[in-house]
Amino acid sequence: MDEGRARRRGVPPRLWLAGGWLLLALLAAIFAPLVAPQDPLAQDLMLERLPPFWMAGADPGYWLGTDSLGRDLLSRLIFGGRIAFIVAFAAAIAACLVGSALGLIAGYFGGWADRIISRIVDVWMAFPPVLFAILLVAVLGTGLSSVILAIAIIDWTRFCRVIRAETMGQSRMDYVENARIAGYGRIGIMLREVLPNVVPSIVALLSLEMGIAVIVEAILSFVNLSISTDDPTWGGIIAEGRLSIHQAWWVLVFPLVTLILTVLSFSQFGEALKTRFDPVLR
């Protein structure tokens, strides 16, 4: 095979794998009530700790087995995906909007705007993010919207820093001066000339941030600070699985694998998108 051409033209395999997994997980989450084989909340003590399908004693209705309360693990993972994705999209987009806007302003205008924004970012990033999140949720109260809000409040700095640096680089390009020569105003130049050139980075970061949001949500669930305890979440399932690791390892392993695959896919997907978004630079 012509390796060079394959790299240029074809879709890289990691994009297929990452995108495929995300699409699968997303569709499953959206249509959870239709695809989940069981009610994720239905307990049945007769069915507790059923092993996954390939092991002796498995029940064909419970592919990935059941937990210590006899709830279907696969169904719980699918329903948990709903929360994971809602949090991923909402929190990442919120953090992205705030952070990118401030990063653009700081990078493009420089001067006091940059000094103020950069100082805030420095202070913000001095807090350990997970502790910060736990603290915020403790203050805001548990619930879906507080989790989203907390993640956005913590992680906008990630966008701000990167977009600021990219914007500064772009602003030094001659075409920015060119636009001034052409008679454009500052805000017009920022939106017209600079923004399109930092979009690939924003997209890549956004995807990465979705992965991070999934992790943070899982951590918050793990310490029981996320949503109500009844709704299945990946972090919550992991926390429960940890308690029965010796009797039923699958309750811990399957949600962990799901979580890791999802987070990895988000970051790979972002990287691949960035390269594809930038035919100009390749």
Binding site: D2, E3, G4, R5
Partner: protein
């Protein structure tokens, strides 16, 4: 005199898509001469220098031809032996003196490293040698320079340091890759003078890669004009400037600005010349493909 210093015979290199970037290049550098390689961007002149030094990018593959360094066929040596031979007998004066030096290390250790590591000299011997060379490139305060970081020196100073480093190990051949392109004209003149002066004193052969026919005229004894990886003309420098044979060489000379003759110079290259070149290269490629199935 001894054998030919560098003998390149029918060297062809291709990109992964099969396109030839060097087209049966042959050239010989005699011991102690300055041999110019001149061409515009994409002519492959830097590529030849890299091929000699064994640092071609991995995408470029040599498919044919031999390179003999003082009679030793580089292609027949094991990679390790080849590296040792190239390391001991050649050196590079790079185009950009800033990126050629590690910004986070002082000049001194960067200069002695090569002598100690590749040639196995003692640190003391290397240090003495470097100071001697710094003196030869007219650096009057070697202590300060050796202790400096690259960004603390001016462009001309950095280039002097790199010239000193290149000559320090007494190589037989130096590849100078556009060493003055990034410099101001007055500094360029000093640096060219320095290179030629050291070259004569040390009897080193230089393969001098440049795009500037003016520089070619001033420093080289023999010259190859390249276009698209092909040698279109090869001549003694004096003969080339007296009577350029190939239409492309003539066009290049007419395009080069001359303040002494502003309206006879800066002539855009004629389309017919470029068309002629294109068909010349197409014919060469066809013949090459035929003989290589």
């Amino acid at each position: 005199m001894s054998a030919i210093c560098l003998d390149i015979r029918d060297l062809s290199a291709v990109l992964p898509n099969g396109q030839r970037v060097l087209r049966s290049v042959s050239l010989a550098v005699q011991p102690g001469e300055v041999r110019a390689l001149v061409g515009e961007s994409g002519a492959g002149k830097t590529m030849i220098g890299k091929a000699v030094l064994g640092v071609l990018p991995s995408s470029v593959r040599i498919v044919e031809g031999d390179m003999l360094l003082e009679g030793e066929d580089l292609g027949k040596l094991q990679p390790k032996a080849r590296r040792t031979l190239i390391g001991a007998r050649t050196a590079l004066i790079p185009q950009d003196p800033l990126t050629a030096l590690n910004p986070s290390r002082r000049i001194g250790p960067q200069m002695t490293d090569r002598l100690v590591r590749i040639l196995g000299w003692s640190g003391e011997k290397a240090d003495t040698r470097i100071r001697q060379l710094l003196d030869e490139v007219q650096i009057r305060d070697p202590d300060r320079v050796l202790k400096s970081y690259p960004h603390e020196l001016s462009g001309g100073m950095r280039q002097r340091v790199l010239i000193a480093a290149a000559f320090a190990a007494e190589p037989r051949l130096i590849v100078a890759d556009e060493p003055t392109t990034a410099l101001d004209v007055t500094v360029q003149k000093q640096i060219l003078r320095l290179i030629v002066q050291l070259q004569r004193e040390h009897g080193t052969a230089i393969l001098f890669v440049t795009h500037d026919l003016g520089v070619v005229a001033k420093i080289s004894q023999r010259v190859s004009v390249l276009y698209a990886g092909k040698v279109v003309e090869e001549a003694d420098t004096a003969a080339l400037f007296a009577a350029p044979q190939h239409p492309y060489t003539r066009a290049l000379m007419a395009a080069t600005p001359r303040y002494t003759d502003p309206f006879a110079s800066l002539k855009p290259v004629d389309e017919a010349v470029l068309a002629g070149l294109a068909s010349e290269i197409a014919a060469a490629d066809q013949a090459w493909r035929r003989s290589h199935g």
